[in-house]
Protein backbone atom coordinates (compact mmCIF):
# COMPACT_ATOMS: atom_id res chain seq x y z
CA UNK A 1 0.00 0.00 0.00
CA UNK A 2 1.32 3.42 -0.96
CA UNK A 3 2.21 5.89 1.77
CA UNK A 4 -0.56 8.34 0.83
CA UNK A 5 -3.17 5.59 0.74
CA UNK A 6 -1.96 4.26 4.07
CA UNK A 7 -2.22 7.73 5.62
CA UNK A 8 -5.72 8.12 4.19
CA UNK A 9 -6.73 4.72 5.57
CA UNK A 10 -5.38 5.59 9.02
CA UNK A 11 -7.24 8.91 8.95
CA UNK A 12 -10.47 7.12 7.99
CA UNK A 13 -10.06 4.60 10.77
CA UNK A 14 -9.25 7.33 13.33
CA UNK A 15 -12.40 9.15 12.27
CA UNK A 16 -14.46 6.00 12.72
CA UNK A 17 -13.00 5.39 16.19
CA UNK A 18 -13.96 8.86 17.44
CA UNK A 19 -16.89 8.86 19.89
CA UNK A 20 -19.87 9.32 17.58
CA UNK A 21 -22.44 11.86 18.74
CA UNK A 22 -26.10 10.93 19.08
CA UNK A 23 -29.14 13.02 19.86
CA UNK A 24 -28.72 12.29 23.55
CA UNK A 25 -28.75 9.25 25.71
CA UNK A 26 -32.05 7.96 27.13
CA UNK A 27 -33.30 5.32 29.53
CA UNK A 28 -35.32 2.54 27.92
CA UNK A 29 -38.95 3.36 28.72
CA UNK A 30 -39.80 -0.32 29.22
CA UNK A 31 -37.38 -0.51 32.14
CA UNK A 32 -39.71 1.64 34.25
CA UNK A 33 -42.44 -0.06 36.27
CA UNK A 34 -46.04 0.49 35.21
CA UNK A 35 -46.81 3.07 37.96
CA UNK A 36 -43.60 4.90 37.01
CA UNK A 37 -44.58 4.87 33.34
CA UNK A 38 -47.95 6.41 34.23
CA UNK A 39 -46.26 9.25 36.13
CA UNK A 40 -43.84 9.86 33.24
CA UNK A 41 -46.62 9.81 30.63
CA UNK A 42 -48.63 12.29 32.68
CA UNK A 43 -45.54 14.48 32.85
CA UNK A 44 -44.97 14.26 29.07
CA UNK A 45 -48.59 15.28 28.60
CA UNK A 46 -48.12 18.31 30.87
CA UNK A 47 -44.89 19.20 29.10
CA UNK A 48 -46.69 19.14 25.76
CA UNK A 49 -49.50 21.28 27.14
CA UNK A 50 -47.07 23.89 28.50
CA UNK A 51 -44.46 23.64 25.75
CA UNK A 52 -44.57 27.41 25.20
CA UNK A 53 -43.45 27.99 28.77
CA UNK A 54 -44.47 26.90 32.24
CA UNK A 55 -46.20 29.54 34.36
CA UNK A 56 -45.67 29.67 38.11
CA UNK A 57 -49.34 28.74 38.64
CA UNK A 58 -49.02 25.71 36.34
CA UNK A 59 -45.93 24.51 38.21
CA UNK A 60 -47.62 24.91 41.60
CA UNK A 61 -50.77 23.23 40.39
CA UNK A 62 -48.82 20.20 39.11
CA UNK A 63 -46.00 20.20 41.64
CA UNK A 64 -46.75 16.73 42.99
CA UNK A 65 -46.50 15.07 39.59
CA UNK A 66 -43.37 17.08 38.67
CA UNK A 67 -41.60 16.20 41.93
CA UNK A 68 -42.59 12.53 41.64
CA UNK A 69 -41.34 12.39 38.04
CA UNK A 70 -38.03 13.98 39.01
CA UNK A 71 -37.68 11.54 41.92
CA UNK A 72 -38.16 8.58 39.58
CA UNK A 73 -35.60 9.89 37.09
CA UNK A 74 -33.04 10.70 39.81
CA UNK A 75 -33.42 7.26 41.37
CA UNK A 76 -33.14 5.45 38.03
CA UNK A 77 -30.20 7.44 36.67
CA UNK A 78 -28.33 6.97 39.95
CA UNK A 79 -29.09 3.25 39.86
CA UNK A 80 -27.92 2.95 36.25
CA UNK A 81 -24.69 4.81 37.01
CA UNK A 82 -23.93 2.66 40.06
CA UNK A 83 -24.67 -0.53 38.13
CA UNK A 84 -22.84 0.33 34.91
CA UNK A 85 -19.61 2.02 35.94
CA UNK A 86 -18.18 -0.63 38.33
CA UNK A 87 -19.00 -3.37 35.79
CA UNK A 88 -17.70 -1.46 32.76
CA UNK A 89 -14.46 -0.75 34.61
CA UNK A 90 -14.32 -4.33 35.88
CA UNK A 91 -13.77 -3.28 39.49
CA UNK A 92 -12.91 -5.84 42.13
CA UNK A 93 -14.47 -5.67 45.61
CA UNK A 94 -11.87 -3.33 47.13
CA UNK A 95 -12.04 -0.91 44.21
CA UNK A 96 -15.81 -1.03 44.25
CA UNK A 97 -15.80 -0.22 47.97
CA UNK A 98 -13.70 2.91 47.35
CA UNK A 99 -15.86 3.79 44.36
CA UNK A 100 -19.01 3.72 46.53
CA UNK A 101 -17.37 5.67 49.36
CA UNK A 102 -16.23 8.40 46.97
CA UNK A 103 -19.53 8.46 45.09
CA UNK A 104 -21.75 8.93 48.15
CA UNK A 105 -19.21 11.38 49.51
CA UNK A 106 -19.66 13.41 46.32
CA UNK A 107 -23.44 13.55 46.83
CA UNK A 108 -23.13 14.59 50.44
CA UNK A 109 -20.58 17.29 49.66
CA UNK A 110 -22.56 18.66 46.77
CA UNK A 111 -25.76 18.83 48.82
CA UNK A 112 -23.88 20.70 51.53
CA UNK A 113 -22.48 23.04 48.88
CA UNK A 114 -25.95 23.60 47.42
CA UNK A 115 -27.22 24.57 50.86
CA UNK A 116 -24.39 27.09 51.17
CA UNK A 117 -24.95 28.47 47.67
CA UNK A 118 -28.63 28.93 48.54
CA UNK A 119 -27.60 31.51 51.16
CA UNK A 120 -25.83 33.74 48.64
CA UNK A 121 -27.39 37.01 47.58
CA UNK A 122 -28.52 37.42 43.99
CA UNK A 123 -25.68 39.87 43.37
CA UNK A 124 -23.07 37.41 44.64
CA UNK A 125 -24.51 34.67 42.46
CA UNK A 126 -24.51 36.86 39.35
CA UNK A 127 -20.97 38.08 40.03
CA UNK A 128 -19.71 34.55 40.55
CA UNK A 129 -21.42 33.27 37.40
CA UNK A 130 -19.85 36.10 35.44
CA UNK A 131 -16.44 35.20 36.91
CA UNK A 132 -16.61 31.51 36.01
CA UNK A 133 -17.41 32.39 32.43
CA UNK A 134 -14.20 34.40 32.17
CA UNK A 135 -11.33 32.50 30.54
CA UNK A 136 -9.13 30.77 33.19
CA UNK A 137 -5.92 32.72 32.40
CA UNK A 138 -7.59 36.07 33.04
CA UNK A 139 -9.70 34.87 35.93
CA UNK A 140 -7.95 35.30 39.26
CA UNK A 141 -11.05 35.33 41.46
CA UNK A 142 -11.75 31.60 41.06
CA UNK A 143 -8.49 30.77 42.78
CA UNK A 144 -10.21 31.62 46.06
CA UNK A 145 -10.32 28.30 47.94
CA UNK A 146 -13.19 29.28 50.25
CA UNK A 147 -15.64 29.36 47.35
CA UNK A 148 -14.86 25.78 46.38
CA UNK A 149 -17.66 24.59 48.63
CA UNK A 150 -19.82 27.64 48.26
CA UNK A 151 -19.35 28.32 51.96
CA UNK A 152 -18.63 32.03 51.70
CA UNK A 153 -18.88 34.72 49.14
CA UNK A 154 -17.81 38.18 50.14
CA UNK A 155 -18.08 40.01 46.87
Amino acid sequence: MKHTRLTKRIEDLSEKLKPAPSEGIRIDFSSFTQPEQLVLLKNFELDEKHRHGWTREAILENREIIVKCNMIVIQRVNELFLFTIPRALMLDEVNQFFFNVNFWGFWERWMECRKNVGKWSKKDRDDFLRDIKVKPETNTKNKDEVRANGEENNN
Binding site: K16, I25, N78, F81, A88, L89, V94, L129
Partner: protein, 162 residues
Protein backbone atom coordinates in the same frame (compact mmCIF):
# COMPACT_ATOMS: atom_id res chain seq x y z
CA UNK B 1 -64.45 -9.45 55.69
CA UNK B 2 -63.27 -11.45 58.71
CA UNK B 3 -60.58 -10.09 60.98
CA UNK B 4 -57.93 -12.65 59.90
CA UNK B 5 -58.73 -11.97 56.23
CA UNK B 6 -58.42 -8.27 56.81
CA UNK B 7 -55.07 -8.76 58.54
CA UNK B 8 -53.80 -10.91 55.69
CA UNK B 9 -54.89 -8.33 53.13
CA UNK B 10 -53.24 -5.49 55.09
CA UNK B 11 -50.02 -7.52 55.43
CA UNK B 12 -50.02 -8.29 51.69
CA UNK B 13 -50.50 -4.63 50.81
CA UNK B 14 -47.80 -3.56 53.29
CA UNK B 15 -45.43 -6.06 51.72
CA UNK B 16 -46.19 -4.70 48.25
CA UNK B 17 -45.52 -1.15 49.41
CA UNK B 18 -42.24 -1.95 51.16
CA UNK B 19 -41.06 -4.33 48.46
CA UNK B 20 -42.11 -2.83 45.12
CA UNK B 21 -41.52 -4.69 41.86
CA UNK B 22 -37.94 -4.05 40.86
CA UNK B 23 -37.12 -3.61 37.23
CA UNK B 24 -33.68 -3.22 35.74
CA UNK B 25 -32.78 0.26 34.47
CA UNK B 26 -31.51 -0.02 30.89
CA UNK B 27 -30.13 2.41 28.34
CA UNK B 28 -32.39 2.89 25.31
CA UNK B 29 -30.50 1.07 22.53
CA UNK B 30 -31.95 3.43 19.90
CA UNK B 31 -30.42 6.45 21.58
CA UNK B 32 -26.92 5.11 20.85
CA UNK B 33 -25.20 6.15 17.64
CA UNK B 34 -25.12 3.81 14.63
CA UNK B 35 -21.41 2.78 15.02
CA UNK B 36 -22.02 2.12 18.73
CA UNK B 37 -25.03 -0.07 17.95
CA UNK B 38 -23.07 -2.03 15.34
CA UNK B 39 -20.26 -2.70 17.79
CA UNK B 40 -22.63 -3.76 20.57
CA UNK B 41 -24.50 -6.01 18.12
CA UNK B 42 -21.23 -7.80 17.38
CA UNK B 43 -20.57 -8.26 21.11
CA UNK B 44 -24.14 -9.54 21.56
CA UNK B 45 -23.64 -12.07 18.74
CA UNK B 46 -20.68 -13.55 20.65
CA UNK B 47 -22.62 -13.55 23.94
CA UNK B 48 -25.61 -15.25 22.27
CA UNK B 49 -23.38 -17.90 20.72
CA UNK B 50 -22.33 -19.16 24.18
CA UNK B 51 -25.58 -18.39 26.05
CA UNK B 52 -26.74 -19.22 28.68
CA UNK B 53 -23.10 -19.56 29.83
CA UNK B 54 -20.59 -16.72 29.52
CA UNK B 55 -18.20 -16.75 26.57
CA UNK B 56 -14.93 -18.61 27.40
CA UNK B 57 -11.96 -16.55 28.53
CA UNK B 58 -9.95 -17.21 25.34
CA UNK B 59 -12.83 -15.91 23.18
CA UNK B 60 -13.07 -12.75 25.29
CA UNK B 61 -9.30 -12.28 25.02
CA UNK B 62 -9.43 -12.82 21.27
CA UNK B 63 -12.09 -10.11 20.99
CA UNK B 64 -10.62 -7.90 23.72
CA UNK B 65 -10.70 -4.74 21.61
CA UNK B 66 -14.35 -5.21 20.82
CA UNK B 67 -15.15 -6.04 24.45
CA UNK B 68 -13.26 -3.07 25.88
CA UNK B 69 -14.79 -0.65 23.39
CA UNK B 70 -18.26 -1.94 24.30
CA UNK B 71 -17.59 -1.43 28.00
CA UNK B 72 -16.20 2.03 27.28
CA UNK B 73 -19.40 2.95 25.42
CA UNK B 74 -21.56 1.89 28.36
CA UNK B 75 -19.39 3.72 30.89
CA UNK B 76 -19.22 6.92 28.81
CA UNK B 77 -22.93 6.95 28.06
CA UNK B 78 -23.98 6.22 31.67
CA UNK B 79 -21.74 9.07 32.81
CA UNK B 80 -23.14 11.40 30.13
CA UNK B 81 -26.68 10.58 31.23
CA UNK B 82 -25.81 11.15 34.87
CA UNK B 83 -24.13 14.52 34.32
CA UNK B 84 -26.80 15.81 31.91
CA UNK B 85 -29.95 14.59 33.61
CA UNK B 86 -29.22 14.97 37.33
CA UNK B 87 -28.87 18.78 37.57
CA UNK B 88 -32.07 19.27 35.55
CA UNK B 89 -34.00 16.71 37.61
CA UNK B 90 -32.80 18.37 40.80
CA UNK B 91 -34.08 21.70 39.40
CA UNK B 92 -30.61 23.25 39.64
CA UNK B 93 -30.01 26.75 38.41
CA UNK B 94 -26.89 27.55 36.35
CA UNK B 95 -24.66 28.05 39.39
CA UNK B 96 -25.79 24.89 41.16
CA UNK B 97 -25.33 22.91 37.94
CA UNK B 98 -21.81 24.29 37.66
CA UNK B 99 -21.00 23.15 41.21
CA UNK B 100 -22.60 19.78 40.49
CA UNK B 101 -20.26 19.17 37.57
CA UNK B 102 -17.26 20.40 39.55
CA UNK B 103 -18.01 18.07 42.47
CA UNK B 104 -18.75 15.16 40.14
CA UNK B 105 -15.47 15.38 38.25
CA UNK B 106 -13.64 15.86 41.53
CA UNK B 107 -15.22 12.65 42.80
CA UNK B 108 -13.89 10.83 39.72
CA UNK B 109 -10.40 12.23 40.25
CA UNK B 110 -10.46 11.37 43.98
CA UNK B 111 -11.56 7.87 43.20
CA UNK B 112 -8.97 7.42 40.43
CA UNK B 113 -6.33 8.55 42.89
CA UNK B 114 -7.43 5.89 45.37
CA UNK B 115 -7.35 3.29 42.55
CA UNK B 116 -3.81 4.37 41.73
CA UNK B 117 -2.78 3.98 45.38
CA UNK B 118 -4.42 0.56 45.57
CA UNK B 119 -2.54 -0.56 42.47
CA UNK B 120 0.75 0.54 43.97
CA UNK B 121 0.07 -1.51 47.12
CA UNK B 122 1.86 -4.85 47.49
CA UNK B 123 -0.49 -7.81 46.98
CA UNK B 124 -0.26 -8.91 50.64
CA UNK B 125 -1.14 -5.45 51.93
CA UNK B 126 -4.05 -5.20 49.54
CA UNK B 127 -5.32 -8.61 50.66
CA UNK B 128 -4.94 -7.63 54.31
CA UNK B 129 -6.86 -4.40 53.68
CA UNK B 130 -9.63 -6.31 51.96
CA UNK B 131 -9.86 -8.92 54.78
CA UNK B 132 -9.89 -6.18 57.41
CA UNK B 133 -12.71 -4.29 55.63
CA UNK B 134 -14.65 -7.53 55.22
CA UNK B 135 -14.21 -8.62 58.87
CA UNK B 136 -15.36 -5.22 60.05
CA UNK B 137 -18.40 -5.48 57.77
CA UNK B 138 -17.37 -2.30 55.99
CA UNK B 139 -17.83 -3.62 52.47
CA UNK B 140 -21.58 -3.21 52.80
CA UNK B 141 -21.46 0.04 54.76
CA UNK B 142 -20.43 3.55 53.96
CA UNK B 143 -19.01 6.33 56.04
CA UNK B 144 -18.05 9.95 55.59
CA UNK B 145 -14.50 10.56 54.43
CA UNK B 146 -12.63 13.04 56.62
CA UNK B 147 -12.25 16.29 54.76
CA UNK B 148 -9.54 18.91 55.12
CA UNK B 149 -10.78 22.41 55.76
CA UNK B 150 -9.57 25.25 53.58
CA UNK B 151 -6.51 26.98 55.03
CA UNK B 152 -8.11 30.39 54.54
CA UNK B 153 -10.94 29.43 56.92
CA UNK B 154 -8.54 28.19 59.57
CA UNK B 155 -6.52 31.39 59.35
CA UNK B 156 -9.62 33.55 59.73
CA UNK B 157 -10.74 31.58 62.77
CA UNK B 158 -7.30 31.86 64.37
CA UNK B 159 -7.28 35.61 63.81
CA UNK B 160 -10.70 35.94 65.36
CA UNK B 161 -9.62 33.98 68.44
CA UNK B 162 -6.51 36.13 69.06
Amino acid sequence: MKSWQLNRRVNKLSQEITDPVKTETKIDFNSLSEPERQLLDRVQEIVDKYAPASPPQDIIEKNADLWNKGLEIFARRAMELFVDVMPASLCCDELEAWYFKMYFYNFLFDWLESVQKLREMPEERREALFRERKDMGLLDRLFRLPRGRPETNKKTEQNEET
